[in-house]
Amino acid sequence: MSQQLLLNGIVHSYGASRAVDDVTLEVKAGELIALLGPSGCGKTTLLRIVAGFIRQAAGQVVIGDRTVDDLPPNLREVGIVFQNYALFPHMTVAENIAYGLVARGVGKADQRARVAEMLATVRMEGFADRKPRQLSGGQQQRIALARALAVQPRILLLDEPFAALDKNLRLDMQIEIKRLQRQFGLTAILVTHDQEEAMSIADRIAVMNSGRIEQLGSPVAIYDAPATPFVNSFIGSSNILDGVVEDGRIRLSVGAVLPCKAPDLPQGKAVQVSIRAEQLMLVRDAAPDRFPVTLTLSLPIGGQLIHDVAASDGTTLKIATARHPGDASSLPGTWHCALTPEARPSIFPQPTP
């Protein structure tokens, strides 16, 4: 039932602007890929091309071993869950779930059995006769999911499915979707602009920027080794420091030499060094690979303390450290900023202005 999806050189333009610019992507059977990017990066256009709502200007969409470019949306066997759920307001929950089955000419008895099965799958038994407006946002989302899954789609498309939910519910639904996707072995694409959402449930993430895929990889790989400054800035919060390549190492402008090796860059090359907040720490003693900072503020955020510090040249950095029970803030005074032993800073050539 689950099939692989292949996007081959997809191009689409709206007027003069290229919404999708030569995107090639292979989604393996049973894999959940997140298309992650800011609004206008082409992720939604790509989703609508897969669904068949938009005809791409060039390239092929292949589901399983079949090219579906000439198929209208109703013959593609693709399930979609929309951000606003898009439940039919004039139908009951059961009628909503049965909608795709009716369209496929499934018999009445089979419909009823399948609806009951889907309601059980999304844990909404007993809601069959309600109207969508009588349900909460999370419940509507479950029904939308049940409706999309009832017809056993070959591909499941999720269009910002958690955006309209409040934060606590969002996590529940993410777990729910991940559970169902695993249970049915569904090939799925999740469109989102929320990196946490993508990190939490996707098998792989495709970070998109102005119509292109900037990086494709596992959430961990993308977080730990962002390929471009864009990916770096979009995923997680980072501290950016300027530096130059010096004898195979990098000298930071704030006055320290990075303990790790520089990538293969010419001597004197200006670089940007990106270090995640949790890969920095505050220590009292000075050393060649540390630089002095002034601590301006410490905020306890859950299990972490976030320190706002300023380097000697005015650059502000954020440092996250584990908070021990009872800690509220660090003491003011002279501190030195050091990299944690497991820190893997990302180094990018300084963009030429």
Partner: protein
């Protein structure tokens, strides 16, 4: 502001105007219809029994109703596709379309109606095209037929149907149509199962307006329908202004009023099944 805080007396000026200029004449009309003679000396149901006892007059009531229903059906047939097209059009196209849609309302009824004579006449546009294309060997008879009249009414009353329909359909979530398509429903099924039921409230508003105005469209009915086709409005005019039989004209008037009201109530009753939320 709370509803109860609004003083009912604010409605009094309009209420008094309605009472004096609408309710009172209506009662007067009803009173006239209950007279037996033209001089309004004797009370009696004679004119009511004369009207309803005569197959010709019952036929006129039936024809009027049928005209209203036909106008609603034909208008709906064209309005739904046009409304769909409108909702999917670009904002610029929508501006042009709304102008075209409103055009019939900006022209005088008399001018519009006479324009239809030019189009539907024996030597008119439709016939010239039909003859030139060889679609018909002899000129079609369109003027003074129900077909021609319904066609003209459809154009004249199209805005009344389109405007409420468009305003409801613009409020529909475009994702609903996408959801329906993705679930395997073709265009027709999506239309009949999703768009049509959800746009019914707009259609009912439009249908009410079209029905009422088609049944009472005196000018179109008499100019295009001519003397051959008799509907209640022209019957009223004839009885009141030519025959001077005011009690009988009053019976016709009250009948027309009740006929149109019955139609509107039918549509309202349908509306209770069109609750979309």
């Amino acid at each position: 502001m709370r509803a109860a805080a609004v003083d009912w007396r604010l409605a009094a000026p309009l209420g008094i105007v309605y009472l004096a200029l609408f309710a009172a004449p209506l009662l007067l009309l009803l009173g006239i219809s209950l007279h037996a003679d033209q001089d309004l000396q004797q009370w009696g149901l004679d004119n009511w029994t004369k009207f309803w006892g005569d197959a010709f007059y019952r036929g006129v009531v039936w024809d009027t109703l049928r005209l209203g229903v036909a106008a609603v059906l034909v208008t709906s047939l064209f309005a739904w596709p046009l409304a769909l097209f409108f909702c999917n059009a670009s904002p610029r196209t929508q501006k042009v379309l709304i102008f075209i849609i409103l055009l019939p309302l900006l022209t005088s009824v008399v001018i519009r109606t006479f324009a239809w004579i030019v189009i539907l006449a024996r030597e008119g546009l439709v016939n010239q095209v039909a003859l030139a294309l060889g679609l018909s060997a002899t000129p079609l008879r369109l003027l003074q037929t129900e077909t021609g009249l319904v066609l003209a009414l459809m154009q004249i009353e199209m805005p009344l149907m389109l405007l409420p329909l468009i305003s409801v359909m613009r409020g529909l979530d475009p994702n609903l149509l996408d959801a329906s398509r993705a679930l395997g429903a073709g265009m027709w099924r999506s239309f009949f199962r999703v768009i049509l039921p959800l746009s019914l409230p707009g259609w009912i508003a439009g249908a009410t307006l079209v029905f009422a105005s088609a049944c009472t469209a005196f000018i179109s009915q008499s100019v295009i329908g001519g003397a051959r086709l008799v509907y209640l409005p022209s019957l009223i005019w004839q009885q009141a202004m030519v025959v001077y039989d005011w009690p009988f004209a009053a019976v016709c008037s009250v009948t027309l009023l009740l006929t149109v009201l019955a139609g509107i109530m039918m549509l309202n009753w349908l509306g209770r099944y069109a609750r979309t939320d």
